[in-house]
């Protein structure tokens, strides 16, 4: 008998968006069940309903063979369902430990038994973050880990994970994989959402693919090939991203960074030529974001020279943007978009230097960008908060796809983006580069870096330690170079 069964689950948002159009899903106990789908397919909506954070418009939830309807998030927790949300809701002013214990009842904050248990979980996972640090002082990847630890420490029968690995890299992902296996071995059930098909293949026993609010594929993983899943997600066949071996001629040096240093960044020199994509590989916290912010001038403690076409760029973001630098930051909600402005306004934010707004032109541009990046949205007047995670990311990218941009820097641009759109975005980057735009690309998907970069810089501990040629390096070698261990990795993926 399935532990969880959904029948005809439907969700219509107040603004009229139909996110789920009658989804059936059944999860067997003791299995890892994968849930996939393009951005905006309704995955997060589905799990929010399961977690009691949203109310379904229609449909039936059966938990342990019993029909249930939750009123609020407390009920499913009590019933044994723990949830890791995609946009991890944490309390920034409390420590990581306090956040993990947030849903506990009882009397005392310093409940020794509960703390000991969390510490045990932390030890199991290799102390992924300092438990007593305030969450507001932790980077986004660590925050993701807090949510994972919290869900595991809650001792639930079903653990729902909404893209837990989207902001993680290397060994931390492996940690999560190992944890999921352990949970499965303990007889628990996991509902696992991811855009990484390799993860899904390696980890899950069964998969369900959602498209436009409907389940379009429901099968045992063993019976499927990667391409089947990818095609089901995109609703079309997705060609795998492969390096094209064409030789390129690069133009002149566009970006020239000399002796750039910041508190978490050793003095760095680098150059990027016109038409070149330079990848930056590294582990979590290796200083990749730090480097981009230092170049962009958004880190005011950064010192050193940044030249664009031989012109020195002052160390301020407004000057940098005027000069033609563009940065797509990694935390889209906090750094990427303005939630109360429409998509058109958000996209226009990057380029307006004129005095008057030009609603007609801006709307046309926004609509074109929505088309080009296949952003799933009603129209350009929608607010970013109405979008699914991946689509919001595309809006942030769209902000910089302007003629004025002379140097594009992308920080984890594909985090949380579905396979179809990911290929589209990477192709787009490649096309932009081929048209002469230099690109700096930070990604934790080394496969992506190898596929589209012309050069890859490897960072470790705030230092560029080596430069590798993507044409000759394998993914595992790149991981080794970045400081991760090959053994762990291959175990993580295949064991």
């Amino acid at each position: 008998m399935p532990i969880l069964e959904l029948q005809g689950l439907t969700k219509i948002f107040p603004n009229g968006t139909v996110a789920l159009k009658g989804v059936d899903l059944s999860v067997e106990p003791g299995t890892v069940h994968g849930l996939l789908g393009a951005n905006g397919a309704g995955k997060s909506t589905l799990i929010k309903i399961l977690a009691g954070a949203l109310e379904p418009s229609d449909g039936r939830i059966e938990w342990l063979g019993e029909a249930r309807s939750w009123n609020g998030p407390a009920a499913p927790r009590a019933a044994g369902i723990a949830t890791i949300y995609q946009h991890v809701p944490l309390v920034p002013t409390l420590s990581a430990m306090e956040n993990i214990l947030l849903d506990r009842g009882g009397m005392w904050r310093a409940d020794a038994a509960a703390r000991a248990k969390v510490r045990a979980v932390l030890a199991d996972m290799g102390e992924p973050f300092p438990a007593d640090t305030l969450v507001q002082d932790l980077p986004i990847g660590k925050r993701q880990m807090i949510a994972i630890v919290a869900a595991i420490a809650a001792d639930a029968q079903l653990i729902i994970m909404d893209e837990p690995t989207a902001s993680l890299a290397g060994y931390e992902r492996d940690n999560v994989y190992a944890t999921i296996r352990r949970l499965k071995a303990e007889g628990r059930t996991v509902l696992f959402i991811s855009h990484f098909i390799d993860e899904i293949m390696a980890l899950t026993d069964a998969v369900t693919v959602l498209r436009d609010g409907r389940a379009v594929l429901d099968a045992r993983t063993a019976d499927l090939k990667e391409t089947d899943i990818a095609d089901a997600i995109a609703g079309r066949s997705v060609a795998a991203l492969r390096r094209d071996r064409r030789d390129r001629n690069f133009g002149d040096t566009v970006l020239d960074v000399r002796g750039l240093t910041a508190p978490a960044l050793a003095p760095t020199d680098l150059t990027v030529r016109a038409g070149e994509i330079v990848g930056i590989a590294g582990l979590l916290g290796s200083g990749r974001s730090e480097l981009l912010h230092a170049i962009f001038g958004s880190d005011r403690q950064a010192r050193g020279a940044v030249l664009l076409d031989g012109q020195s760029v002052p160390r301020r973001t407004d000057e940098a943007v005027m000069a033609g630098l563009a940065l797509v930051p990694e935390d889209r909600a906090k750094q990427g978009y303005v939630p109360l402005l429409s998509l058109a306004d958000n996209i226009a934010l990057g380029d307006d230097l004129s005095l008057m707004q030009a609603p007609g032109r801006e709307r046309a541009e926004a609509t074109a960008a929505i088309e080009r990046l296949s952003i799933k949205v009603r129209d350009a007047d929608a607010l970013p908060t109405e979008l699914s995670g991946g689509n919001a990311q595309k809006v942030v990218i769209a902000k910089w796809l302007k003629g004025r941009t002379r140097m594009l820097m992308l920080d984890e641009p594909t985090a949380g983006i579905d396979i179809g759109a990911r290929t589209d975005i990477l192709r787009l980057v490649r096309t932009l580069a081929d048209e002469g735009l230099p690109v700096l690309l930070v990604s934790s998907e080394f496969e992506e870096l190898i596929a589209i970069c012309d050069r890859i810089l490897v960072m470790r501990d705030g230092c560029v330690v080596s430069e590798v040629d993507p044409a000759t390096i394998s993914e595992t070698d790149l991981i080794l170079a970045a400081g991760g261990s090959r053994v762990e990795f291959s175990e993580g993926m295949t064991a």
């Binding site: 973001t317 407004d318 990427g336 990057g350």
Partner: protein, 374 residues
């Protein structure tokens, strides 16, 4: 234009404060008629309300910009008093125009100081402007030596009175603004609210006729509101103001100089307060050291009644002015109906909450939940 758009534009959430004002005026007019008092809705009386609301309105418009950028200014009333004191103290020696410039510069300097402390030292705007509220009031006391000051030279006094108490024919003002708004509405289809506003303005011009005049401060308020509203709505600067308040970090990474915008908002707020102070001083030809004490809460209340968010990123200057009109209509109503003073406080408080409720409830449960999260 779809039915949904219509519902949105005329829904309580968008238009709530207009409905609240209309309702209040209707109730007061009804009671006045019932008691046999002179007609409540007369050009004279409505003109009075607008005149009485003008200073708070001017400060409220700037405060709205402030709130949109996500900051806060408690010092406006003190700054207005200081500007008034500077004007009165200097006008005798250097004449009205020079003294007014000095007053505006003083006010602007305090705004820059406020903004610089908030942005560069990083202290919370509430505590900084609470500090300057006290300190600037202290400056007023020092400047006036705790006494009222007045302008002694009659010709300067006459200039000042003329600046404040000149009257303009409302007919032309309403007609010009109405026509401009209508023109805009026609130039771009789909701008129904602007169209309706324009028609209403032109109609009231016709209704008021050419005899009906407006006090100068009302005209200044109208011009200032129109200017700031225009900048916010149609210029890139306006969009950036909203962006700075909506997500400062995203704005910064989009190449917006967040510090400049925030400090600019402080300066605007103080300069507007300084201008209000000048009007105040011109109205009375004198300044008492406790002038305008406590007005800051009224100013903020007007902005928030107009639907401006305390958390930044949203707000409309026209609605702030309507919020100010609402507050002053209420006291005007008390005076007209000769309501016992003991009951005024209770009624005023209840009406303020009820007015805010009108559009909050209209926004429905969805927003409620989000609001609770914010």
């Amino acid at each position: 234009m779809s039915g949904q758009d219509w519902r949105r534009i005329f829904g309580l959430r968008e238009a709530g404060v207009y409905y609240a004002l209309a309702l209040l005026i209707a109730v007061l007019a009804g009671i006045a008629a019932n008691r046999g008092l002179p007609a409540y809705i007369s050009g004279q009386n409505l003109g009075n309300i607008a005149y009485q609301a003008s200073l708070v309105g001017i400060m409220g418009v700037a405060m709205t910009v402030m709130l949109i950028t996500g900051a806060f200014d408690l010092s406006v009333a003190s700054v207005a008093a200081l500007a008034a004191a500077v004007l009165i103290a200097l006008a005798g020696q250097v004449g009205f125009p020079a003294a007014a410039v000095a007053a505006l510069c003083t006010a602007g300097a305090i705004g820059l100081l406020n903004g610089a402390i908030v942005q560069f030292v990083g202290i919370n705007a509430f505590i900084v402007t609470l500090g300057t509220l006290t300190a600037v009031r202290g400056l007023v006391l020092i400047l006036t030596d705790g006494r009222s000051l007045m302008v002694e030279r009659p010709e300067v006094l006459a200039q000042m009175l003329a600046f404040e108490s000149g009257r303009v024919s409302a007919f032309w003002v309403l007609l010009v603004i109405g026509a401009a708004v209508l023109g805009y509405a026609l130039a771009r289809r789909r701008r129904v609210p602007a169209g309706i506003g324009g028609v209403l303005l032109v109609a009231s011009a016709a209704f008021a006729g050419q005899d009906f005049t407006l006090a100068a401060p009302v005209l200044y308020l109208a011009l200032f509101t129109a200017l700031v509203g225009f900048v916010l709505r149609f210029t890139v600067v306006g969009r950036r103001v909203y962006a700075v308040g909506g997500n400062a970090e995203a704005a910064r990474l989009s190449g917006i100089n967040v510090n400049a915008y925030r400090i600019g908002a402080f300066a605007l707020s103080s300069v507007a307060a300084g201008f209000a102070g000048i009007l105040f001083a011109c109205r009375l030809g004198a300044i008492n050291p406790t002038a305008l004490q406590g007005a800051e809460l009224t100013v903020i209340a007007a902005a928030i009644l107009g639907g401006t968010s305390l958390f930044g990123g949203a707000g409309s200057v026209v609605k702030t002015v309507v919020g100010a009109l609402l507050l002053f209509t209420l006291t005007n109503g008390f005076n007209i109906l000769n309501l016992g003073a003991n009951y005024q406080g209770l009624i005023e408080g209840v009406v303020v909450v009820a007015a805010a409720a009108i559009y909050t409830v209209g926004a429905g449960r969805a927003r409620l939940l989000k609001g609770a999260a914010a």
